[in-house]
């Protein structure tokens, strides 16, 4: 019952966040009514893009294959104009990566299944006085033969996961200063002041927590699983359970506390900035164009241009995030499914310890997947909040 409630809440939260994203994506189109206004806005956007320091982002984007065909300024301007994204090609590319991964990994798992089944058959056929000692020797050989490809695959998974998290961290450290700059330039000074420490904390501390604690603890859990199945005398099940619990608490507490707190603060700040701006506009009714230090309610091209560039940069950041996230996730999912499939195949005929080991390794790898997805989710949340706050300003 508890799990159902948690699942429903998670789905509702995701729908709310996606609704923010799609509503803000729709605002990347220019809203000026006349051609003259649109041209003026476009010119302002081009000037702002020239003024904005995009060098670090340009260098990073050049290193990504899928984004190196255009400059960052050109790409941002295209998103603002509302040029459509080529969804069919994007999704077909994703499907190609999925099948290629499965094809590459399949021989290793077939080898594991074959060795395990063979050893299972030989053990079944054992006869004579040396049956007991030969059984342990056969198990050792089968286990070692299965372990080598599994460890190679697991190492590849961890490397891919760590590189993905590291790539996301690099993106955050490039993109967040730009987004906060554009947020402050578009009138969201309070929002920028609130988001600044939160995104700094997330991009440095939380991501380091994932790569320095969660991933290594997952390796330890897998090592306990290897040792526990190799030797019946060594029992590390409870230690493994303890480290699993630590991982769950780290991920759970981080995503709920940071996510909820930052969402609440960000939305409140955006409302504050928006109300202040509307109060200034309302004062125009008395013939006063400026109230205090705030600027008039007339259409400010710099503010509007900054807001549009911020939204399109947010969209581009999400595409960049997906580009570094997709392959590792596909690899982790493929390995998880293949491990479970191999465990299922070897269970009827092979040694129970090997199939249990394969099944446990598949479950333990989920912490790796969770770490990557958790980093991506919080990154996505930060972008959506920063982009979505501009809705409250106008």
């Amino acid at each position: 019952m508890k799990r159902k409630i948690i699942t429903i809440v998670t789905v509702v939260l995701c729908l709310i966040y996606f609704s923010f994203f799609f509503s803000s994506v729709s605002t990347v189109k220019a809203t000026a009514e006349t051609n003259e206004g649109t041209n003026g806005l476009n010119e302002s956007i081009v000037e702002l893009l020239d003024e904005l320091d995009l060098q670090a982002l340009e260098e990073y984007v050049d290193s990504l294959d899928s984004f190196s065909d255009k400059s960052v300024s050109e790409r941002l301007f295209e998103y603002i104009k509302g040029d459509s994204i080529d969804y069919p090609n994007f999704f077909s590319g994703m499907a190609d990566v999925l099948f290629e991964n499965v094809k590459t990994l399949l021989p290793s798992f077939l080898c594991i299944a074959a060795v395990t089944l063979l050893c299972g058959i030989v053990t079944t056929l054992k006869v004579g006085k040396t049956a007991a000692s030969s059984e342990s020797m056969i198990f050792l050989i089968a286990y070692a033969s299965s372990l080598i490809p599994v460890l190679a695959v697991v190492t590849e998974c961890f490397t891919a996961a760590k590189e993905s998290v590291s790539a996301m961290q690099t993106q955050m450290q490039i993109v967040f200063p730009l987004l906060l700059t554009l947020m402050a330039a578009s009138g969201g000074t309070v929002s920028a002041a609130i988001c600044r420490p939160a995104v700094a904390f997330f991009s440095t501390n939380i991501v380091t927590l994932i790569s320095s604690v969660v991933f290594p603890l997952t390796l330890v859990i897998i090592a306990f699983s290897v040792a526990g199945h190799l030797s019946k005398e060594l029992k590390f099940g409870k230690f493994a359970a303890f480290f699993k619990s630590v991982n769950k608490w780290i991920i759970g507490v981080s995503v709920s506390v940071f996510g909820l707190f930052f969402t609440l603060q960000g939305l409140t700040a955006a409302t504050y900035d928006g109300i202040t701006r509307r109060a200034a506009k309302y004062a125009i009714g008395t013939g006063v164009p400026i109230v205090g230090g705030f600027l008039s309610g007339g259409f400010d091209l710099a503010v509007a241009g900054s807001a549009l560039i911020k939204n399109s940069l947010g969209s581009m950041s999400i595409f960049m995030m997906v580009s570094v996230l997709f392959e590792p996730i596909v690899l982790l999912v493929s390995v998880n499914l293949l491990l479970k499939l191999t465990a299922a195949i070897t269970q009827p005929f092979g040694d129970e310890r090997i199939s249990d080991f394969l099944g446990e390794t598949a479950s333990n790898l989920n912490y790796c997947t969770a770490g990557v997805l958790f980093s991506a989710f919080l990154y996505f949340l930060c972008i959506v909040l920063i982009v979505g706050t501009s809705e409250a300003f106008f």
Partner: protein, 163 residues
Amino acid sequence: MSGYILSVIGVVLIAAILTAILPEGKTNGVIKSVMKVVCVFTIVSPVFEYLGGAENINSEGIFEKSVINEDVSFIDYCSKISVENVAKELEASLETEFSVQVSVTLEWRYKQETTDILVGSYENDKIEIVKATVALEVEPDAETKEKIIGFLKETGIGEVEIV
């Protein structure tokens, strides 16, 4: 942290291999017991370090403070454009209100404000227009000058100068 992880993995795997390949014998049980004790002590070693007064558990920089620096020159550029827009609007307002041809130049600065939101106080910079210099094509009479100065001061500008 990485040192601890490597030591745990190494000790556990070596213990597992040893217990698996050791031949049967009298010392078998003793060796296995010793390996188990070594494994347990290696895994719980951080607890002993903490109790022993280890000062720094932040070996991986998990609690390192970091700062995000915005592009100040871009914000200044946008602020300058916004202030220029305001100057143009002021010129239009003055021309409509007083039927005079004017050119308005605004001096501005950033004013730091503290905003309390939920559980935190946050400092942010707002644009503050400090002085407005109004250049008139035709010298108006004193009454009109006073009205112009009064009009501009009502908008919140600190100092107004007519040239």
